[in-house]
């Protein structure tokens, strides 16, 4: 009995073991990354993000960035000036309790005015309500970052400034400055207007079971990692058996 270690520690199988270990390590890291993605999608993660103190929006993302999942639900502060009243839009079919009404969305120009953040100022019963009047001048706001809604909730078409859903692509074509990817649901503004729309709750981020997909991917990466090591072991023992079976002198390298 020459011992399986002699085969295992031969240069060929030692080299392949290093390759298998590197592959397994990379796959383990990829699995952990998928697990992280899953964790960032859970309700607890969303709650934890919402509990953090507000930070300037520009410290989390620029106007060039897509909205990161880690920014959704964060409280952000923004300083700038309200866009012209003509740029304000409404989102239809947004009841407040049992009262029908709309959300009023006003762009807030930031920096040199070439880009803006869309601010959901709140709920109004109709577009002509006093609270719906677009505010003017410089302002600092704090609010919750939410993602653009995935698709139109109703079949209603856009009528003038009244939109069927809180959807960024619809608004991008209506203004002549760049827009940040996402909406800020207003919690407070300084100065605050005399007649303010009723505050609204930020909509919960969609989950669509996507988190389970990431769990499955994480497990798969770990199976691949184990498989790389298993394959090395089986092929090495096969080789060992073949060498042991051959009479000395006829062993081919």
């Amino acid at each position: 009995m020459t011992g399986i270690w002699r085969t295992a520690l031969s240069p060929r199988w030692l080299g392949l073991l290093v390759v298998a270990l590197v592959l397994a390590a990379v796959m383990t890291v990829l699995g952990s990354w998928q697990l992280d993605v899953y964790r960032s999608k859970t309700a607890e993660a969303t709650t934890a993000r919402a509990a953090q103190p507000p930070v300037p929006l520009q410290s989390l993302m620029s106007v060039d960035d897509g909205l990161s999942r880690k920014v959704v639900g964060r409280q952000v502060s923004i300083s700038g000036r309200w866009a012209p009243a003509a740029d304000q839009v409404f989102v239809s079919d947004r009841p407040n309790g049992d009262q029908p009404g709309l959300w009023v969305v006003t762009p807030l120009l930031v920096g040199d005015g070439s880009s803006a953040v869309l601010v959901v100022r709140g709920w109004v019963p109709d577009p002509s309500a006093p609270a719906a009047a677009a505010p003017v001048g410089p302002v600092s706001v704090v609010g919750t970052m939410v993602a653009s809604e995935a698709e139109d909730a109703s079949d209603a078409a856009t009528r003038g400034r009244v939109l069927p859903s809180l959807r960024l692509p619809t608004i991008v074509g209506m203004v002549d400055y760049r827009l940040y990817d996402g909406f800020v649901v207003l919690s407070s503004s300084t100065p605050s207007p005399a007649a303010a729309p009723a505050p609204v709750e930020p909509p919960a981020p969609p989950t669509d079971h996507a988190g389970l997909r990431n769990i499955a991917y994480a497990v798969q990466w770990w199976i691949f990692a184990a498989f790389a090591l298993f394959m090395w072991w089986r092929m090495m023992t096969d080789d060992h058996r073949a060498r042991s079976a051959q009479p000395p002198g006829t062993v081919s390298a």
């Binding site: 499955a216 798969q220 199976i223 498989f227």
Partner: protein, 114 residues
């Protein structure tokens, strides 16, 4: 059948265990090939162009687990049919590229049954 340089014994469908392993490999190769086409040409466009991840949520993980079975099938056949390590890796990777698993399946079947 074997070239003068070949030191490995010739393996054909008649070698014990190879026929069964080949059949198992062919079945899973076909399934994974079809799933990969669904993933790349249906689920991915739906997710990234139409913003609808529901097909991806089902086909993505399903394809992943079936690919694990494909790896097992490849490894099992490879051991029985004495594939070189390089050939084993290439056949395994063929399962990740659209259409290539169908080619690999045909080629292996042809090699072993001629």
């Amino acid at each position: 059948m074997s070239t003068p340089h070949e030191t490995r014994p010739a393996v054909t469908i008649a070698t014990p265990g190879v026929a069964g392993a080949l059949t198992r490999y062919r079945v899973i190769a076909y399934i994974v090939g079809v799933m990969l086409l669904l993933l790349v040409f249906v689920a991915m466009p739906l997710k990234y162009f139409a913003d609808d991840p529901s097909a991806m949520n089902v086909i993505g993980p399903l394809h992943g687990f079936l690919y694990v079975v494909y790896l097992l099938g490849t490894f099992d056949l490879g051991r029985r049919a004495r594939f070189s390590l390089q050939k084993m890796v290439l056949v395994a990777l063929a399962g990740t590229i659209p259409f290539l698993s169908f080619y690999a399946e045909r080629k292996l079947t042809h090699e072993l049954t001629r």
